[in-house]
Subunit: 390 residues, 2 copies
Amino acid sequence: VNTYAWIHNFIATHSAAPTSGERFHALYRISGDEKTAYEKAKDICIEQTIEYPEDLVPDGVIRNEIFGRIEHFEMRDTACWAHISFAAESTAGELTQLLNVLFGNISLKEGIQLVHFHLSPSLSQRFPGPQFGIPGLRKALNAASGPLLATAIKPMGLTATGLATLTYQFACGGIDIIKDDHGLTNQPFAPFRERVARCAEAVFEAQEKTGKRILYAPNITAPHDEILPRAHIAKERGAGALLVSPGICGFDTIRLLASDKSINLPIIAHPALLGSYVLAEHGISHGCLFGTIARIAGADATIYPNFGGRFSFSREECADIVRACIEPYECFAPIFPMPGGGMTMERIPDMASLYGNDVIYLIGGGLFRHSDDLAENCRHFRTLINSHNK
Amino acid sequence: VNTYAWIHNFIATHSAAPTSGERFHALYRISGDEKTAYEKAKDICIEQTIEYPEDLVPDGVIRNEIFGRIEHFEMRDTACWAHISFAAESTAGELTQLLNVLFGNISLKEGIQLVHFHLSPSLSQRFPGPQFGIPGLRKALNAASGPLLATAIKPMGLTATGLATLTYQFACGGIDIIKDDHGLTNQPFAPFRERVARCAEAVFEAQEKTGKRILYAPNITAPHDEILPRAHIAKERGAGALLVSPGICGFDTIRLLASDKSINLPIIAHPALLGSYVLAEHGISHGCLFGTIARIAGADATIYPNFGGRFSFSREECADIVRACIEPYECFAPIFPMPGGGMTMERIPDMASLYGNDVIYLIGGGLFRHSDDLAENCRHFRTLINSHNK
């Protein structure tokens, strides 16, 4: 006799209608021996969906469809790999809830890494994805091929006029994308409205002079109720792109910006506050976090710390991000990997061999060191990079 | 001769006026030997503020005030501890930018843990903080003392009617706070509007019958542009509190909800997607993340996995969260620690000794196992817990 017959009956009586049967698929890397890892895989199926004692659930829709389902499990390369599918309906078609099903509660458990996932057809339709991607950004910049160059205006503490002067010089030097440093928000040193107006104006003046298209990307990472207003101010003032840190504002901010036709600007994702997901064996893989998730949210370019720079990403981890940015993935356009830092002359050949054509090099302090002519330094970097890109 | 005289001159000429001098203070635990750790501490001062080559910055406002400043550094207990201060202005008075200064870019660097921080006076004023806290929640529940009990309605896949039936039984059994499972958003099984209407109604009916005050807390974790609308629907339907996952929506969502007088409901923070910050030596301490940050954002209760449950938090880590919830901290009201899981009869005495009076025990599957009378099971748990709380 099942002592939990009463709750089995209750659940059987109150279960919803069957789902569409459509499922999305996630791949987890699980540490531990095979038996422990398999238990963890079974646990993921429950923890990420019903979060309820499995033995209290009778046969029926919930057990058969809403539980996560282990589609494949194998030990390989000293770790276990579990391919688990979930009902599309469990996400409610929301990016926020998709992230919750993929890694919400298990972020609190040890030894689990979300390596990759694939959406189901109806879920792919739900998310706007990149509105520009590599082809759209190239078109906006009138740059059909070759690596693109980007830099950030800083340091914090300069006035808006000072930042606009730097912007003008970078633009005259032909830097394709000039973004706010991600730490510039609305400080009194260079308030958002004034900074955006002056820097956008500086780009217009330089374009007038050189004829080259340049995009200025203000940082709109802000309090919840300030994000859209700042995006609209940026648009009105003539910004050519937007910078946002999804680790601070949530990835759904990118989805919202990408789906707002009144904004319609390329979106650049910044990795601030996201590092903890990738710095342990537990967490989310580099490609999945900075590539796939940013891409389905709708980012057109994704910034991450380059290998060989002042951060700790390896060449292989950067390659994983590149793969996730450009590999065919549902209906989503490929997006630009945007490695930052680590850009020294000696390392350009190796970078060129990893990144090839479809990359935005984000160059920082290095631009200030070659000579005392900032625009000339920008051209110098362009020449160096082009010389290694065949 | 300084070869960078031109950029020194430029920065000196374009620096903003001096800051107020007000600074906020963060404590970092840094791994590595003393020399390496000190270099990392110096790096934090730069990376989290100007993110620009230190040698290119001349004497003046930026170097003297905007750079982070090592106030104290010592090796203790096999790690190095760096107390670093930052200019209040660097946050622009924004919770989002405060988090960015505290841990944005360094989340991407290894061996650094944000252990604790203190706001400056003007920053404390900027954030609404908990609008209810422990005293306000007790008042709303008419429960002057003693541990509170909470549970979640689930599993996903039940209809709104089924969830409302559970809600009614929990409410009749005297559970103080009945929350949506954090994975219930707007799935077709039990759409948000219908679920909230029915569950709020169930609580009213039970209150009518028993006279005991109960709070129903719908989950409003949602896409960016759905959060406020769902909060307002919840309010209109008579919800008594709100559940939100800041790891998914951003901590600023809590700040927004706490500062919206037209909502004015207690806020419960859920830890989904936040685990990666605490599961490595690198990251954010348990107390700082689930306690301090949730508290300054404006949460009135903070959920976290209890020790001894199906997650991996230790008793000490839970104690750290409790400390951060209730210790005097600026002008912010103390908030309820809300440990979830791990609640078995044998473990109640130890939990009572750690948590004492000011705790909300979040009980899950255990409520279903004692007998086939759910309301009776709730009363049974209350009796058990009260018997250990003197």
